[in-house]
Symmetry: C2
């Protein structure tokens, strides 16, 4: 089986490659070849003997999509996108990459012809939903995005459905929850603190909390997200019907629950590293986000969320090499 | 006020032009100039002294949209589209005209800049909805189209919302009911019989009815549809919120009610001109169509449907010049 991953250099792309390389199979078949694409040539996964082609460059440039599907990958993970903030500040770039790039990929698949009909796993977004929103938000809530990014993802979902219906590809779209705990350094995303208030204290560093403790958010671990991608590549799509896009299961977790979990795992002194510094701008953005979803369709199809937030944090610690013993909080006695 | 109409040569476009020319105003302002576009240069309305520019050709060809908005029309009625059946048989043409053409128009508007922000009235379609459907179907039902045409219209709705939100235009999208009674000759549309079983008997001609009498459908008169377009060009869009697309009010009418109304207006012998000839293919298509909607948002915004089916038929008779006395049924004594 030949697997193509766009956006393979991103956090979730890299974790997917690790799982593909270490497991060696997808949908019950051996993975024998990979094609990887990102702006900078993605690193092939370690410890694999299979041929891996790494392509560098904008996947949305003319001709790029044809190169990506030239060797007819059986499964395509389409993860590449301009992120939400950039799609809002750079209107043209967001449409060029997220809409035109996605459509060019689907068109390149259609152009292959001859019965070629790959499984396409499309990373959509909960940003397809916009206020006013019910609580919780069902799978079937109408898509009224309030960002250009959300608009581009909602259009991608519609195209995925139509190209699937017409028999050009076999699509599954996944609306992923916010990924917590993200590994690495703090970033400038407005949602960054949901990871930061766990990650930084575990590293003995200070984290800033810009919102109130009762803020609730829809989360999944990077491990769970990779599991969703793998399951989407494997499942029997006959059960999906005509709407191929699914809200992924997650955990509705409040900031207070995050802090309690941190205290339980790593001791209450860790939580003293969380500095409350209210930020009206971030609080306003977060207030407009959806908080809780029902993901009944996905659950019925076998997508499995993290069991609970504590398990999610412990899995992060294992993956980050923090293990059972956390380092002492800096400047404090242990 | 300068008004642009794409698809101005179509049935509803021509009726809109008549109303614009005879009334002379739109949104309380004098109409002083018209630009009309269609594949064949549209006929300017009769009895008007204002300058009318008629442009012939595919509005979706490169450069066409820039020409259409070069003189900065204040109100744009975007009616041009490849129809449902053709968009299904010719995949590329449907996407080129209905998606790329619509986007090119919106992009040409954005490119004008300098505070230019026209009202854009976009003819969307109830085909944005797809089975499984509730009965009745609320405005807020999610859009899961089951045709390429419906997909293209759903994407147009999303673009209309985003371009409006970004301040490039001031959009209103209308999902029009099936127009009954369509003037003219029978056509090959699967929905044609809804008009045919009224129109042909009134002309003393035979009509074929391919479905059962209990089939229900969502209808509006061409007069009501033009009223919707005019109202959409005039209303205060602040009340619309972020979702600029509206299901238009209509009448949920059964075939049996159509026949009863015909008998009441023109006498029971007319209904004998309706020949029941079951067509399994048409019956199957029609069974998949939505039957009834709530149009609560549009009604709250002042969109007014036909009062009842009899009024709708009588208005057709006036417009078609049939008047109060209908011609005798051919081959029968009156």
């Amino acid at each position: 089986m030949h697997v193509l991953v766009t956006g393979a250099g991103g956090m979730i792309g890299r974790k997917l490659l690790e799982v593909l390389a270490s497991g060696g199979t997808l949908a019950g078949r051996e993975v024998t070849r990979m094609t990887l694409s990102d702006l900078v040539a993605p690193q092939p996964p370690e410890f694999t003997a299979m041929p891996v082609t790494s392509l560098a460059g904008d996947f949305a440039r003319p001709g790029a999509a044809e190169d990506l599907v030239a060797h007819e990958p059986d499964v395509i993970f389409h993860l590449a996108a301009v992120v939400s903030g950039e799609a809002e500040t750079d209107f043209e770039k967001g449409y060029r990459v997220n809409l035109d790039g996605t459509r060019a990929l689907f068109e390149a698949i259609r152009a292959v012809g001859g019965g070629y009909r790959p499984r396409v796993v499309f990373a959509s977004s909960l940003a397809v939903f916009g206020a006013p929103l019910p609580d919780p938000i069902p799978d079937t809530h109408h898509r009224t995005p309030l960002t250009s990014y959300g608009t581009q993802k909602a259009i991608g979902e519609l195209l995925l459905n139509d190209y699937t219906r017409r028999g050009f590809l076999d699509g599954v779209g996944l609306r992923l929850p916010t990924l917590v705990v993200r590994p690495g350094k703090p970033n400038r995303a407005a949602s960054g603190f949901f990871s930061g208030i766990i990650r930084e204290p575990l590293n003995g560093e200070e984290a800033v909390l810009p919102v109130a403790d009762d803020v609730m958010h829809w989360m999944a671990s990077p491990r769970a997200a990779v599991g969703y991608l793998m399951h989407a590549a494997s499942l029997d799509t006959a059960a999906l019907g005509d709407d191929r896009n699914l809200t992924m299961p997650g955990l509705a977790v409040t900031v207070a629950e995050e802090i309690e979990t941190l205290a339980r795992i790593a001791g209450p002194t860790r939580t003293e590293l969380i500095r409350r510094e209210h930020d009206a701008a971030i609080a306003r953005i977060v207030a407009g986000w959806p908080r809780r979803f029902t993901a009944a369709r996905a659950e019925a199809l076998g997508f499995r969320p993290d069991p609970d937030f504590e398990t999610l944090v412990r899995a992060y610690m294992v993956d980050a090499g923090i293990g059972a013993s956390v380092p002492p909080a800096s400047g404090r006695s242990g």
